[in-house]
């Protein structure tokens, strides 16, 4: 074991090997945040669609979840990176931007849309866990259906689903490691690059694992604070 390796400069000389890992960590965090925003927005919309009266919209959101849940994340990532630019109009322009941006965009789209399917199911469960009387009361007061969602159902559901969303937050962050397979230099990829350059596999993997544990613990602490603020007093979800 020689942890001094982290402080020696990389071949190009502009930083140390530790600098490489920290760059990777920054990419991992940026990617997780970008995908998480996309997943929350799209997942919430799909989750609402799964509970509306219109059967067409419900079926659309249902098929989305089926599709994105039953194909492995790695396959989805390769489809976003290798297949979509070939088939989509304007794909040739995508292939001209710099490789890092290409990899980052494909990864964010992939992780975001993959996680949206999971967020969708949590949002749906949150809305369905509310007593039916809430929706009926909203409609009976003369609110339109969108108003009932906006002012009655969603504010309650949003607070109820914070605990399951904590684990989805952790999942997005952990799943971002898969994006090392298309060459995106996030934390795992930087760790592997370090092994290729220095042959210090144990030191490198230990450092990368420690960084993952650190960020994981930080997210858990943050989300615990959010959970305690979002808790609905006297509600089933507030046990603990």
């Amino acid at each position: 074991m020689d942890f001094g390796i982290f402080f020696s400069p990389v071949p190009t000389g502009e930083t140390t090997y530790l600098g490489w890992l920290l760059q990777g960590l920054r990419t991992t965090i940026a990617l997780s945040l970008a995908s998480w925003v996309l997943a929350l927005a799209l997942g919430t919309l799909l989750g609402i669609l799964r509970t509306v009266p219109n059967p067409g919209l419900r079926a659309f959101a249902g098929s989305y979840v089926e599709l994105f849940r039953n194909v492995p994340l790695l396959v989805q990532l390769f489809v976003w990176y290798f297949v979509v630019p070939e088939l989509a109009p304007g794909g040739h322009r995508f292939k001209q931007i710099d490789p890092f941006t290409q990899q980052f965009l494909a990864s964010a789209a992939c992780l975001g849309l993959f996680t949206a399917a999971r967020v969708c199911e949590q949002v749906r469960a949150g809305i369905e866990s509310l007593p039916r009387g809430q929706k009926n009361a909203g409609l009976a007061l003369g609110l339109t259906l969108p108003q009932t969602y906006r002012y009655v159902l969603l504010p309650m559901a949003a607070r109820l689903i914070v605990p399951p969303l904590t684990s989805e937050t952790l999942n997005v962050f952990k799943n971002s490691a898969v994006c090392s397979t298309i060459g995106l230099l996030e934390l795992t990829a930087q760790g592997r690059q370090l092994v290729d350059y220095t042959a210090h596999a144990y030191e490198s993997f230990l450092a990368v694992t420690a960084l993952y544990l650190l960020v994981n613990a930080t997210i858990q602490l943050l989300m615990r604070a959010v959970e305690s603020r979002a808790r609905v007093p006297g509600y089933l979800g507030s046990r603990k």
Binding site: N70, V71, A177, V178, F205, Y212
Partner: protein, 225 residues
């Protein structure tokens, strides 16, 4: 417009089939070993002894905090040299499959242990009290009375986790082991037909996993009924 050419698929079916056998092999080993070790961990976690439950808690939270890709990289690094030392194998022996199986089993055990813990806690307290009153030791009560019921309650969740595990086996890609996905990628790369092979692989996973999920839904209705 992109011109599709699916002609790589028929000729490569035997190779893809071999890959599928590797994917399924890893899945079956990891599900069996993961459930067994996960159940032991769940029982340890609920044990009255502090050090035992602390060990299980640390194990589970460690494996749940690290990405699967990273866990697999660790196992592809450590297991081969360990096994070579213990079994005195030559360096030419390919141990990637064994490493993948060990890695997936130990990783999935952490997730299975959470499911089994919920299962054990779902069995009413009177069951184990009654078993103890009949003169069983705590371990006998666990094995003969609590675990069979916990297992039955959790069958749908255990199977759903197995479907997720099957999808995750594609990540052995990081070791260049030719599982189903790796085989499809290699064929696509060789023939310059990556688009078609990736779509084909995705479709196969989709059909298999949807069918399995549907089966689990039917089963769940029966278990609940």
């Amino acid at each position: 417009m992109y011109e599709f050419d699916w002609s790589s698929i028929p000729g490569s079916l035997p190779f893809l089939w071999q890959g599928m056998m590797i994917s399924l092999g890893i899945t079956i080993v990891a599900v069996a070993a993961g459930i067994a070790w996960g159940t032991v961990l769940a029982v340890m976690r609920l044990s009255p002894s502090r050090p035992i439950s602390l060990f299980a808690t640390l194990y589970v939270s460690l494996f749940r905090s690290v990405p699967l890709v990273m866990v697999l990289l660790w196992f592809f690094l450590i297991v081969p040299s360990l096994l070579r030392d213990v079994l005195r194998l030559s360096h030419a022996t390919d141990l990637r499959l064994a490493s993948a199986m060990v890695g997936f089993s130990l990783f999935e055990a952490a997730y299975y242990s959470e499911i089994m813990r919920a299962g054990i806690q779902s069995v009413s307290k009177g069951q184990s009290s009654a078993a103890l009153a009949l003169g069983m030791t705590p371990l006998q009560a666990m094995w003969h009375v609590v675990l069979p019921q916990a297992f039955r309650n959790m069958v749908p969740l255990l199977l759903t986790q197995a479907i997720i595990l099957f999808q995750d086996t594609s990540l052995v890609y990081v070791s260049a082991l030719a599982d189903f996905f790796g085989a499809a990628y290699k064929v696509g790369d060789r023939d310059g037909r990556l688009v078609e092979m990736l779509l084909f692989a995705g479709a196969v996973y989709f059909v298999l996993c949807s069918a399995a999920s549907w089966g689990v839904r039917v089963l769940r209705r029966r278990v609940l009924a």
